[in-house]
Amino acid sequence: MTEIQLKDPMRDPIGWKKEDERPRLDGGPIVAGLLISLTAILIIGIIGLPLFAVFAAVLTAGAAEISATLTDPDTLAALRLTLLIAAIAVPTNGLIGLAAAWAVTKYEFPGKTLLMALIDIPFSVSPVVAGLVYVLLFGAQGLFGSWLDAHNIKIIFAVPGIALATLFVTFPFVARELIPLMQAHGKLDEEAALTLGASGWTVLFRITLPKAKWGLLYGLLLCNARAMGEFGAVSVVSGHIRGLTNTLPLHVEVLYNEYQFKASFIVASLLASLALVTLILKSAVEYFGRDAEATNPIIEAQN
């Protein structure tokens, strides 16, 4: 039997991956220590301190002031609008992102590269430009302006405009998260399911989605964080009508410009808390998702 060699050592399930044979690339403990402390100082200084300052500013305000600001009708309206916009943008972009990732990774078609590039545009273009595009399309002097006016449909300076601008800005998060993941998964499982007689929907719900669920959830959370925090694009299309078209980020700016510093910090900390909740959920997804992903290869290596 010994003369029969394996055709391809990469497929050898036994004794191929030996972790301890990897060369050391870390440069020793001193370099590691320096790099770690430098990174830690920068992250704490640039990201941690400002966030801390926001919450600290709130603490200097009295309880009465805090509750007055948070129960102010304009603040509550802004909070409601922000949550509404997130509730529109996140599921919509979840569906579109999933469809886009599916189309790009499972099919070959002309213009695929162009489509992939288009998905990235919201990341590369300034949010202000994104807002202006919608004004050019739907504003009073815009392309569809007179038609919309004639039919009494308000998009710009109204909730639909804010929702559209947010959709634009947050579009890539889910798609960007899913595309590399689904590319790595390939289409072999889908093909196997098809030969077994599964319909397209069965393949989607029993094969593709379960395998991509952690990536999808992660993308949705990032999308949510950005949808609640978006300022630039929303600022252009909102019109800053208090109690009607002000989202939380816009409300913070309004308060700040009116020299209500304490109130603006209080609302800012509310916004920051929403972001922190998202961040905690995101870390949880990373933790459990990595756990779920990691168990397989480890056991596989032992076989």
Binding site: M1, E3, I4, L6, K7, D8, R11, D12, P13, I14, E108, L188, D189, E191, A192, A193, L194, T195, L196, G197, A198, S199, T202, R206, I207, P210, K211, T295, N296, P297, I299, E300, N303
Partner: protein
Amino acid sequence: MPVGVTVDHIQKQFAGGFRALRGATLEIKPGELLALLGPSGSGKTTLLRLIAGLEVADDGIIRFDDVDAQSLTLRERGIGFVFQHYALFRHMSVFENVAFGLRSRPRSTRPSSEAIKNRVNDLLDLMQLPDIGHRFPAQLSGGQRQRVALARALAIEPRVLLLDEPFGALDAKVRHDLRKWLRHIHDKTGYTTIFVTHDQDEALEIADRVAIFRTGQVEQIGTPRDLLNHPVNNFVSEFLAETKQRSDYSTLAS
């Protein structure tokens, strides 16, 4: 009833310009165990994928008995496909993997969950894999995964069973055992079976007939004894030469 498959002057060119099949023609009899043998890139796997309906031919026709396969959906073709690296659904237990094909049927033809359970357990017994239904693919050895993949393909009672390099990813000892065992399963179930290999020994040892592939065409098709004793050209004889020298095939089917 097992079906016969006719492959008639099939042409297939890929987007990159590679011509995988150049008029390949062959016939598989109902219930036969046929090996597609040839060097890599000779079109064997492509032909298998065309028969399964995972690719569409540029020209030529594939028939299941007398029916043009082009007019059949993947489900209607009733293919059991065992992929080279098994393609087991790693997020499902072994039981769910094997049950997948039956559970995916439209409600009107779907067996009861009791029937599905019995069928899956029967198959796992047939594969000599009892009591591993609850495990996940990552917890199995290569040989076990191979057998689960076969069980999954057999669960739908395929009209044609297709295996792509079924033993390619296994070490020599396991491969040798599974080879004999595949022949045993075939004799027991009687499905029309086509398997792809680039290993001469494998093809000659278990197949009823072997089709030798070269650059997208069938050079010769015949029983192992035919091929060894009456090769039609140098390519066939040289391709099989290595085997002939080191093994004794006196026990081969003729």
